[in-house]
Amino acid sequence: MTTQAIERYLAPTQLEPALVALTQPGGATVLAGGTDLAPQTEAGVRAYRAALLNIRRIEGLAGITDTGNEIRIGATTTITEVRRSPVLAEIAPVLVAAAERFASDQIRNAATLGGNLCNASPAGDMSPPLLVLDAEVELSRWRDEAVHTRRVPLAQFFLAPGKTVREPEELLTAVVFPRPGAGFTGRFRKAGPRPALEISTVSVALGARLQAGVLHEVRVAMGSVAPTPLRARHVERALEGRALDAATIAAAVEAAGEDARPIDDVRASAWYRGHLVRVFVEEVLNDVRGN
């Protein structure tokens, strides 16, 4: 792949000039933490566009806000900020748990939530927990002299490894999810040869409301078992409205094989991934049942 020469560098403090830059001929490469962009461009698997657009200085693009009904996390919020957020610790510990196991301290200090999603790795650590939180992403673009923003459910955002529904002129500005209801509980599991700096072999997240021993609003998400992070609809159907007992857990574990479509690659075999995902589904359900 040939690397195009970068003609312009921009580090705007406002959203508008950033969105305008994305509409210019030759387009713009978005730079935030750089933790994916740097190695991908150095390795030649990704080319730069005509402009390099640093979005880290845009005011209002970082931070976690609780608006009552919704939690909003700005695109340039770092993984460290997610990990240390008292708001998220209380409302969405499943997301904090995933941030705990995200790469290393140095990477968490630089990497951004928006970047992790736009990189669209099947193994992206923030995706399964955000999928079970029913998150949506905000995509903004400049058109007809104004900012236009659409929301896309995260479950529809990913298309393939490295590919999302985001248009080249669009910027992911925030991730938003509804405040989980009373009784909501979440779990996250990730496997790799060591806890740190590991591209997950398999990850599983669960979100559900457990009421009188029965699961409601069940959401299960998986990473590294398909070309994109996904919602495990078969597992969810096996659990929704059922008493959380041994028979239900066994049915959910069986259903995991319907959702996971793992491949053999350098990190693990398809067989091993298929096995791990069943183990994780069983573990998280037993964990919820035990509490």
């Binding site: 040939t2 312009r8 933490g33 933790t35 740097a38 461009t41 640093n54 301290d105 200090n109 630089a110």
Partner: protein, 167 residues
Amino acid sequence: MMSVETEIRFMLNGREVALTVPVTMKTLAMLRERLDLTGTKYACGEGECGACTIEVDGRTVNSCLMYAVDCDGRQVTTIEGLRTPQALHPLQQAFVDHGAVQCGYCTPGMIMQARHLIENRPGLTREDVQRGLEGNLCRCTGYTKVLDAVQDVAAQRAAGCAGAGAD
């Protein structure tokens, strides 16, 4: 193929610096090749090993992944900025005292990350230190003495704070 260059200005180890860098240059290359600060090491070049750890605005990052242009307007500290004219930084001294060095290549990154841990979290346990140093690899595998050195300084800090509180 040449890319555009841009001028940046930032605080480096307490002194303002200004220079022009190619927009794709990484901070590590700028430090070593343009500013002659070779204490920060290149090893893996992809954020896996921590040898290039520096501190930017109070947070440690892998300088091999950070675009140099993003240093503009920020406070950058490297291993060269730790000692005073009179003495080594307590962590540097502790690494010497504990022999927490084999080949020494990972040491600057280890010390930068350990300093970040000690300054941001009082009462560090051994597990805290282990987790905090997850992003720093030592290929000589001399981890035990590194952990001892860091815990020693953390304990000195804790004792110092307790003493000050008792007065």
